[in-house]
Amino acid sequence: MKTSSVSSSSLSTMLRSTILKAQEKLVGANKEMTTGRYADIGVSLGARTGTTVNLRNQHDRTAGIIDTNGLVSQRLQVTQQALGGMLDTAQNFLKTLLSVRNGESGVDVLVSEATNNLQATIGAANSSMGGQYIFAGINTQQQPLTDYFSSATAPSKAAADAAFTSYFGFAQDDPAAANITAADMTTFLQTDFSNEFTDPAWGTNWSTALDKNIQSRISPNEVVEVSANANSQQMRDLAKVYTMVADTGTKGLNQNAYQALVDEAIKVVNGAIQGLIANQAQLGSAQARVTTASERLTTQRDILAQQIISNEGVDPYEAKVRVDQLTTQVETAYALTVKLQSLSILNYMR
């Protein structure tokens, strides 16, 4: 007949398993205390682990877009500055044109200013940022405008020369230029010369830019366009007006033809100035959109980070309390083991 209700083996097994279980929990609690996150996210969160993985993805994606937005707004800023420079130049040139018309400055000043301006504007249109030509549309690896003065055989210059020669029958620096009438001059400027700045001649001789502008995604579902393009009307107008004044035999013209040229130039440069201002306004609104999007995304990213923490995080103080409790439990179990070991009837059977 068995009388006892506890067996020696279950007595020792119980203590052993208590210690083992407490130690196992202690490892987890220690990790949670130091990292502030669940020791085993998968087991603790179960199906919600999918959510936390998704949140992390969204967080990284948002942070990525904020990064690239920095680049986009930098690019917009550089473009804005280039446009601003062009606008200043054009406005100053308008002033000079007006003063020439009133007879206050001479033709030499005008021609040299036009020459400089043409160079400066081509330079600005060819400006690049981080290896990208910003006025080239999507063809960012090629300088958009060919340098008019690079050599005598620059295609833009050669074409302009050819247009002049074919219309009047002599070159710009020919003395016969003095015989050109005002009406002839105006017609030439508005037809054959003007054609040099429209397609297909513009695309062949002047510009390698593509009409399609760079588009950038500034939020998960918003795309902006950097709309400054060397092929835009205002850029063509600028090139036209500077070339018109600099290289249509201006110095050799008679007073009437000269007057007609200046009048035409004023008309064109006015159009260019308006175009540039409109372009700046467009870019300005794009800049504002980028800034707004970045601010919104930053808030979103912070909220996502918060959500990740609240999903995966544990209260480190609570974990600390658990560590303390488990430590006490293990210590008690050790003490009990020793106690029970010495508690044997064998010790009293002598």
């Binding site: 068995k2 067996s7 020696s8 083996s9 279950s10 998968g42 682990t49 999918g50 994606r61 990064d67």
Partner: protein
């Protein structure tokens, strides 16, 4: 005459005490064993008041023992499932480490976003390519892991089947000895212990129920009712499957020609390691493999290139991500087994394999020689429409096979996350269940051990009683001897 009778009784007491002490020694020796049941000598009084040990008793509690058997089976099944899930979880790991397929997909998305803003930067293109490569490799590795887990489960099942066969052979001998011993009336308690041990071990591998017939002859059935042992063991067989790639199904376990695992089994097992491993091999890992294959299929689909000609007549072709069946795009909305194992980045986009990075931007990865698949016909360096299109395709909802048990209509990233969610949900519930079952098993084992095991202290106190009784009997004999001596001296 009464003195010699007293001497007889005292002698019988000595021999009973000896036998009882032997029983106590056996108890003390077996105190540490989980499979030892406490023995006790059954003492009866015979003719003339003498005592003798009629038989050796064995404490037993059939209810607790049966409970322990079923708790062991359920626990070892659950343990096998949790082990399998933990191995599968290696494909996810801590979300913070960004090791999961879902996280790699996020990195690729980020690389594409950067590339979309500066499409003329070859470094960023390289970055996209590396991201895509890492993602394809993560899918390959995950697929490998799943196959590995299935093969491991298969090996475990085969090992379980071997063990069951071994134990059944051993059981046959013990059972035969028991039947004989019972007929002969000899001490069979040790054989009973052996039989219980074999049953306990058997229950780790396979869920069993037992019934005892006359003469201690035992019959073992599986928990599904298939006879496992009746007089002789039934043959348990399973042909091991050496390679278990996606779509391959493992061989079923047969008992006496009846399939007990797998979809076609008539009497499927409900517990035991073999059952747990079969769940991992035939169900859990297969579902996870399907999810991986669907992620891979979604990738191929999202990155596929379409005919840019007008009107478009050519079919879509696999772009940056291609697979064994490329350049065709796999059928949409249905699992294409093995895709996750065969997905790789298209060599046409990889400079180290003779490809061109610019094709990431311009299209034409699927077939560089066919101008119909080229998106950027101008060749402009900052053409971003294709990259934007890829970003849109990655975040667009698409339909997945509902058999995968993950969200069937969501974005690719959403599907990958829901796959992680599915796996971890399985893991969480199985781990919790395992915790309960372990506790139950522990409790049952403890109760059984308390009811049937040995307490050394008790044995020692019993031994003191025996010692007392032995010295009393010895003293009696001495005294009776003296009395007889005095009687004989008086006679002399």
């Amino acid at each position: 005459m009464s003195l010699s009778s007293a001497l007889n009784v005292a002698q019988s007491s000595l021999s009973v005490t000896g036998l009882q002490t032997a029983v106590i020694s056996r108890n003390v020796a077996g105190a540490d064993s989980d499979y030892y049941n406490r023995k006790s000598g059954l003492v009866v009084t015979t003719y003339g008041g003498a005592v003798k040990v009629a038989s050796i008793g064995r404490t037993m509690n059939t209810v607790l023992f049966t409970n322990k058997l079923s708790a062991t089976s359920t626990t070892s099944a659950q343990q096998a499932i949790v082990d399998g899930l933990n191995q599968l979880e290696a494909t996810v790991n801590d979300p913070e480490l960004d090791q999961s397929v879902a996280a790699k997909l996020g990195s690729l998305n980020n690389a594409l976003q950067q590339y979309s803003v500066t499409p003329d930067d070859p470094l960023l293109a390289q970055n996209v390519l590396s991201g895509a490569d890492a993602l394809a490799r993560a899918l390959n590795q995950a697929s490998d892991t799943v196959s590995g887990v299935r093969e491991q489960a298969d090996a475990d099942m085969a090992a379980g089947v071997d063990r069951v066969n071994g134990l059944l052979t051993e059981f046959e001998q013990v059972n035969r000895a028991l039947v004989k011993g019972t007929q002969a009336g000899s001490d069979i308690t040790d054989q009973l212990d052996s039989r219980d041990r074999i049953l306990s071990q058997l229950s780790e591998e396979i869920g069993i129920s037992v019934s005892t017939r006359s003469g201690n002859d035992m019959v073992i059935y599986t928990d599904s009712g298939v006879t496992l042992f009746e007089t002789t063991p039934r043959s348990v067989t399973m042909a091991p499957s050496y390679a278990l790639g996606a779509g391959a199904s493992g061989n079923a376990v047969f008992i006496d020609g009846v399939a007990v695992t797998g979809a076609n089994s008539v009497m499927p097992l409900k517990s035991g390691q073999i059952y747990g491993s079969s769940i991992i091999r035939d169900d859990v890992a297969v579902t996870y493999q399907n999810q991986l294959d669907e992620i891979a299929r979604g990738l191929v689909e999202a990155f596929a290139e379409s005919d840019q000609g007008t009107p478009a007549t050519l079919p879509d072709q696999a772009g940056l991500f291609t697979w064994a069946g490329g350049p065709a795009v796999p059928a949409t909305g249905t699992v294409s087994p093995g895709l996750a194992a065969s997905i790789r980045i298209n060599p046409n986009a990889d400079p180290t394999q003779g490809g061109d990075l610019d094709r990431l931007r311009d299209g034409g990865i699927s077939d560089p020689s066919n101008p119909n698949y080229i998106y950027n016909s101008s060749g402009a360096a900052s053409y971003s429409d294709r990259i934007q299109g890829l970003l849109t395709a990655l975040s667009a909802d698409r339909s997945f096979d509902p058999a995968t048990k993950a969200d069937p209509s969501t974005s690719l990233a959403g599907f990958a996350s829901s796959s992680v969610g599915w796996l971890e949900a399985q893991r969480q519930s199985s781990t919790t269940t395992l915790g309960y079952q372990k506790a139950l098993l522990e409790r049952t084992s403890e109760s059984l051990s308390n009811a049937t095991g040995v307490n050394i202290d008790e044995e020692m106190t019993l031994m003191m009683e025996l010692e007392r009784s032995y010295s009393a009997s010895s003293t009696l004999i001495t005294t009776i001897d003296k009395m007889l001596n005095s009687l004989l001296e008086a006679v002399r």
